[in-house]
């Protein structure tokens, strides 16, 4: 039976003093199953260019979202056992977010799993960024997206946008061997 996983999402503002993402690098040594995405500045623009979307509404929708973003940072670790991290490891991030005046719009707990969603509010119905904290006993995930968004962009993030689902655990594991090759 699958044990619950702890996921942490950490919101890290890029402007101002900025949070040091490297402080989370210590978790890299605790597991082989990790996902890291860092797309900022020119790399994000390059990704947007290669999106295409000239004849595809869904891709065009993603492109219009990405065009206004400054950076996307994802860190996710899957551990082999409980207790590989503690609240103290992520508390500095919460303190930083609180100091930068991000608003926590979601805080929920379900057993040993909890989630927090933060946004940086701007005048009108706009946001300067979104961050998600999701924690489970054996998984920690950090999501930080910086850039001007509105409510419909948040809906897009939660929606399908034509992107098929992916099992993160399968994605982080090496591909299975070809049985036919083995038999030969």
């Amino acid at each position: 039976m699958k044990k619950p996983f702890l996921l942490f999402a950490i919101i890290l503002p890029l402007w101002g003093q900025g949070f040091d993402f490297k402080s989370l690098d210590k978790f890299d040594t605790l597991t082989q199953h990790k996902t890291k995405v860092t797309l900022d500045g020119d790399l994000l623009k390059l990704a947007a260019r290669f999106l295409g979307g000239d004849d595809d509404k869904e891709t065009a929708s993603i492109k219009s979202l990405v065009d206004n973003l400054k950076g996307i940072y994802i860190r996710s670790w899957e551990f082999d056992r409980d207790g590989q991290y503690t609240q103290a490891d992520i508390e500095p991030l919460r303190v930083y977010l609180d100091r930068e005046k991000w608003s926590r719009i979601v805080e929920s707990q379900d057993g040993r799993e909890f989630s927090e969603v933060y946004v940086q509010r701007l005048p009108g119905d706009r946001f300067g960024g979104v961050a998600i904290i999701s924690a489970e006993p054996r998984e920690l995930t950090v999501v930080y997206i910086s850039g001007v968004m509105n409510l419909s962009d948040l809906d897009k993030l939660e929606g399908n946008m034509g992107i098929p689902d992916i099992d993160l655990k399968k994605a982080s594991k090496p591909p299975p061997k070809n049985k036919k090759e083995d038999e030969e």
């Binding site: 994000l44 927090e116 929606g159």
Partner: protein, 99 residues
């Protein structure tokens, strides 16, 4: 690979023939009489003919672009998953509270 990726791959730059620059220069009327202009024109011609280094640069840029696109999709999938998970946890917590 998506169709657009196939299209990009199919339309990769084709280098000009090796004697192209020489042919262009031989057609200029001034020829050797205006060496400074000739040298500059040759420079631009050669620079604009996409030598192997430039082709290599474009190829690498394309690879980086496709890799960045793949990472973007991973990031968006994870974001969607976590937002949906948060919503589900809120619903479950609310349901327990009501019950």
């Amino acid at each position: 690979m998506s169709f657009e990726d196939d299209l990009r791959a199919a339309l990769r730059h084709e280098p000009a023939p090796t004697d192209f620059a020489a042919k262009v220069l031989s057609r200029t009327r001034a020829g050797w009489r205006r060496p400074a202009v000739w040298a500059i024109a040759a420079g631009i011609t050669l620079a604009a003919l996409a030598p192997p280094a430039v082709l290599e640069y474009r190829h690498r840029r394309e690879e980086r672009g496709l890799e960045a696109k793949r990472e973007l999709f991973v990031a968006l999938r994870i974001t969607r998953a976590k937002l949906q998970q948060s919503r589900e946890r809120v619903h479950r917590a609310t349901a327990r509270h009501i019950l």
